[in-house]
């Protein structure tokens, strides 16, 4: 891999807190190595700002290996930036070239209010899980793990759905701010497994009700969510969500 260095212009959203208005500020960074990760480039910028006596840019991040789902930047109009199936923390600077201008904004969605700069509040996702994203089994109640054989394909499909990292890129990308991919992934995982059977109907109804209450928009089948999902969660999970919802609505008595 050829290494190179670059100078960049960054336009970054700055916002003091959830109440005040924000705006894009322009910064210059120099001598950025193509081997750096995007967040390491932000580390360089922040160190520079602190030395200049300015406040560094607040952004969410933690594991920096693409699995915790905490990082969340909207880079040049794309959630998690230009690479496919990738999180911001795994985006590397070889995706850019010398002289580029990069615009970085927070997730934009009514249900994800900005807390500061690039940091948003995604607690709506936790509340959707609270509404039914689980199997009600207290510790100690379980039967032997191999007492429930599961078709390998169902198990694999459930795993693919369960790979969701809850980052919110689907919502940020969707023109309607819909959370259907996130909800569909969890509903699918548990609907595909026999353990999820007993609560199958109440789960989908309650999770969708909570999703609506949080102010997420509807799905109009543009599939941008799938295209931008860092974990490649398939929109077939939305189809399954719809079918689960319909079946539950037709067969369930008022809950």
């Amino acid at each position: 891999m050829e290494h190179y260095h670059m100078n960049l212009t960054l336009k970054v959203w700055r916002q003091k807190n959830s109440k005040e208005q924000g705006k894009l500020e322009t910064y210059q960074v120099k001598d950025i190595s193509s081997e750096m990760s995007f967040l390491e480039m932000f580390d360089v910028l922040n160190e520079q700002l602190i030395v200049e006596g300015k406040e560094p840019i607040a952004f969410d991040h933690d594991c920096r290996e693409g699995i915790c789902g905490m990082c969340s930047m909207y880079i040049n109009g794309q959630a998690h930036g230009p690479w496919q199936q990738n999180t911001t923390c795994q985006l590397h600077m070889r995706a850019f070239k010398d002289g580029d201008t990069i615009t970085v904004e927070p997730w934009r969605s009514k249900a994800f209010p900005v807390l500061k700069d690039l940091v948003v509040n995604r607690s709506a996702f936790d509340r959707i899980i609270q509404a039914g994203g689980y199997i009600s089994v207290n510790t100690g109640n379980a039967v032997d793990a191999n007492a429930i054989p599961i078709d390998k394909k169902d198990a694999d499909d459930a795993f693919m759905a369960a790979a969701c990292i809850g980052c919110g890129a689907c919502v940020a990308t969707c023109k309607n701010g819909s959370a259907m991919l996130f909800v569909g992934a969890k509903v699918s995982q548990l609907a595909l497994l026999p353990q999820g059977g007993p609560e199958r109907e109440s789960r989908v109804l309650n999770m969708v009700a909570q999703m609506d209450k949080e102010g997420f928009g509807n799905c109009t089948n543009t599939y941008a969510c799938e295209a931008e999902c860092p974990k490649g969660i398939s929109v077939s999970n939305i189809a399954r969500l719809n079918s689960e919802y319909l079946k539950a609505g037709l067969t369930t008595e008022t809950k």
């Binding site: 594991c63 996702f125 390998k152 497994l193």
Partner: protein, 658 residues
Amino acid sequence: MALDAKIPHGEMDKKWTDYKGHVKLVNPANKRKLEVIVVGTGLAGASAAASLGELGYKVKAFCFQDSPRRAHSIAAQGGINAAKNYQNDGDSVFRLFYDTVKGGDYRAREANVHRLAEVSTAIIDQCVAQGVPFAREYGGLLSNRSFGGTQVQRTFYAAGQTGQQLLLGAYSALERQVALGNVKMYTRHEMLDVVKIDDKARGIIARDLVSGELESHFGHAVLLCSGGYGNVFYLSTNAMGSNVTAAWKAHKKGAFFGNPCFTQIHPTCIPVSGDHQSKLTLMSESLRNDGRIWVPLKKGDNRNPKDIPENERDYYLERRYPAFGNLVPRDVASRAAKERCDEGYGVGTTKMAVYLDYKDAIIRYGKIEAGKAGNDNISHEEIVALGKKVVEEKYGNLFEMYEKITGENPYETPMRIYPAVHYTMGGLWVDYELQTTVKGLYALGEANFSDHGANRLGASALMQGLADGYFVIPYTLGNYLADEIHTTSISTDHPAFAETKQAVTDRLNTLMNIKGTQTVESFHKRLGKIIWDKCGMARNEQGLKQAIEEVRALKKEFWSDVRIPGEVNAFNLELDKAGRVADLIELGELMCLDALNRNESCGGHFREESQTEDGEAKRDDENYAYVAAWENKGESSWELHKEALNFEIVKPTQRSYK
């Protein structure tokens, strides 16, 4: 103060059953009146908070991330051990117990390890019941794989995302309890001190990281599930936010710190590429199942690895350890890599890397697939294509991650790997009940020192975190709380809360008012370099003494010249980080002190003065078969207490994997 580990009497395999049969219980009506604080929501914290909520306790759980689902347990890749013996290959509770004690180089407490092995099977049952999608065979039953330090297949896994799936299982159980009103969740909150009243832990001071405000929370007991302190090295596989603060505050309030120098250097990580690097990325140990590790036979061989013929490669693990080969324990594999690189056989631009090669595995799997299809006459290219598919199914996400970071395709070119800091076996000293030396204050998971001795075997961290949370603390906590049913909730107006809160406020203000010239990050980097160079993979007396001096000087400089922008009562990531780095600096000094005291090599702790003729770690059981539990006595001052380790079952011998 004499250390009492409270190990139950009786035979090893009856201790836990016997303990559970006689432990004090709390009736359901009383549980409703008892409040429990859980700090951290990784595998240990989430499983503990959920299980205690299910039992009916009033639980408050805290995490510094924006959601409990993001705790760093999520990044664990390879798997979780359990003595299920589903593979009929001779596994048993005894063997898991034995392997763990041996793997830990005889520096773990036998009774705890036995209990861990006993409850391991129930963990898998519980996780499957929650809908954790473990890998399965075509018959619909669970699949297993091998891991380092064992000769049976007892590791359950979900591709390379086992930690994620287990954590999401525990998280969903936790959120269910939140929905039921049994657990109150505080996200973006960080514990900044323990509140003690009459020598018992009675609550915490936490900072709301969004508003910057300090809050007081009462609890009849406090559980620290705050993970390990690998970030003392700056570069590690830990998440950026992982820190020692909760455990360190507890330490300063009287909780002894056990074996702080026992840190695990994981052999298979992506090598450092430059000064800008903020963290290191692990490539799961499961890759050593099929991958072969080698360096060129010739020093400074700069050829493309593909052009180096078989007879000019040194598969040094297979050469040195024929019985375990590439699956030797982590400490052994790490040191062997360091030895080759130090001798000048390393590869890549920095020469601080070795190859992890999948060429043979791809061909082996390809031939098996061809054979399954009855296809004997296919070309080499077709075999390779079939083999790549199998490897992709097993390790696809890890290969992808490698490619994203390095820009190289590991299906075509061997991966370059080097050891990196990964896990800390040391932690708060706890007794058999997971209680620290402060009454009512418990430590679970990586935050305690208890089960892994001087080296942790792969796929055992997830096991321990969930064992502590799901199956140990629900029993042992009751034994303490049964005597607390007459304690009514103490108001946070109590002077002890006010005093502790004031002390926290003063410290934050002091930090903000230094207004120096250097950034928090720059101090953290310097700390990491000192600890890695002198208290890393190899340690010696002179280096450790120097390191202690350097860390003390760094601490002084930090407290006189750190620059923290922003405001104290607001969202302030630099202030959060400054508090953590200040605590890591103090811990760094204690680590070096502990490493200096332990003049033997064991597991991940390698004292150059103590090695065998062929360079293996040489233990000194006569003088060091104890847990070093350090009591804080004020600034840069500690007193050593020893818990003698008595091995009833697994008699210590020189570990051999040859």
